[in-house]
Amino acid sequence: MNWLALASIVSAAIAVSFGALGPALGEGRSVAAAMDAIARQPEAANSISRTLFVGLAMIETTAIYCLVVALLLLFANPLLH
């Protein structure tokens, strides 16, 4: 195995692990804020949870980007072929 493949594998792992950190913290904060809002105003639960879902999807996209970058490094690496 050459050093380029090794570097790709290591950087794929780093991309996914650090890419998951930020969205996890952000999603935790947003869910906590939504719970707080629902506890204060239970009658607005519907619209709060819909907005929460859309927001979570937006936040999660950053983690998914990292995952896609990692997969590109592992399976479609332009430097290896």
């Binding site: 519907n46 619209s47 819909r50 879902f53 859309v54 999807a57 999660e60 996209t61 998914i64 980007y65 995952l67 896609v68 997969l71 590109l72 399976f75 479609a76």
Partner: protein, 229 residues
């Protein structure tokens, strides 16, 4: 391990290769169209159980459109409803043994995101004409034209990557766990995958609604600013 970016070619029509994804997509489309037309043939005022279930789906989609876009759902029902039902069925088609969900491949998601991109333009143009829609790119100031333009491309791209990443990672994790642990171990992951599939179908259609509603509202508002009545 098989790359998630590759496609298996099943057979050739002439010189055109037909992949597994295309076959599964067409099977889902046939099932949905035939099911819908068979169900719509025998509609009655006293609904059967099946008709009541379909009416429940339509009312739920209508309610979501009304809540999210705050307009009459009729013009958007067909597009949003079809998007939701197709993605939902496609994500859950992994329940059928041997079938890989078509949304776990980049091409299907690219087609769906492209449809949303075109629908945003279509509904925006219908709300205020081509000039009215193009003018929304120059709001609030003409300096924003490149940013607005890039935004309309990147949000389509992020729709595509989000759906692809979520569904593909589910399939991938199940494959890895199956090859590592054995027969019955991936079942909790499959249950989680079903939840993710349903949530992703919901999120995809909600985001499509939000984008379309944004384009329509902006077009109407910029039109009003120029022609005060």
């Amino acid at each position: 391990m098989k790359s998630p970016l590759e496609n298996t070619v099943l057979f050739h029509v002439g010189s055109v290769p037909v992949t597994e994804v295309v076959v599964v997509t067409w099977a889902i489309m046939v099932v949905l169209v035939l099911g819908a037309s068979l169900a719509a043939r025998r509609l009655s005022l006293r609904p059967s159980a099946f008709q009541a279930m379909l009416e429940l789906i339509v009312t739920t989609v209508d309610g979501q459109i009304r809540d999210t876009m705050r307009v009459d759902p009729a013009p958007y029902r067909a597009f949003i409803g079809t998007l939701f039902v197709f993605i939902f069925v496609a994500n859950w088609s992994s329940l059928v043994p041997g079938v890989e969900p078509p949304t776990a491949h980049l091409e299907t998601d690219a087609a769906l995101a492209l449809l949303v991109f075109l629908a945003i333009i279509f509904f925006g143009v219908r709300a205020g004409g081509i000039g009215g829609y193009l003018r929304t790119f120059a709001t609030p100031t003409p300096i924003m034209i490149p940013l607005n333009f890039v935004e309309s491309l990147t949000r389509t791209f992020s729709l595509l990557v989000r759906l692809f990443g979520n569904v593909m990672s589910g399939v991938f994790v199940i494959g890895i766990v199956l090859s590592l642990a054995g027969l019955l171990v991936p079942i909790p992951f499959m249950a989680l995958d079903l939840l993710t599939g349903a949530v992703q179908a919901y999120i995809f259609s909600v985001l499509a609604m939000v984008f379309i509603a944004g384009a329509v509202n902006e077009t109407e508002n910029t039109g009003k600013e120029r022609k005060p009545t």
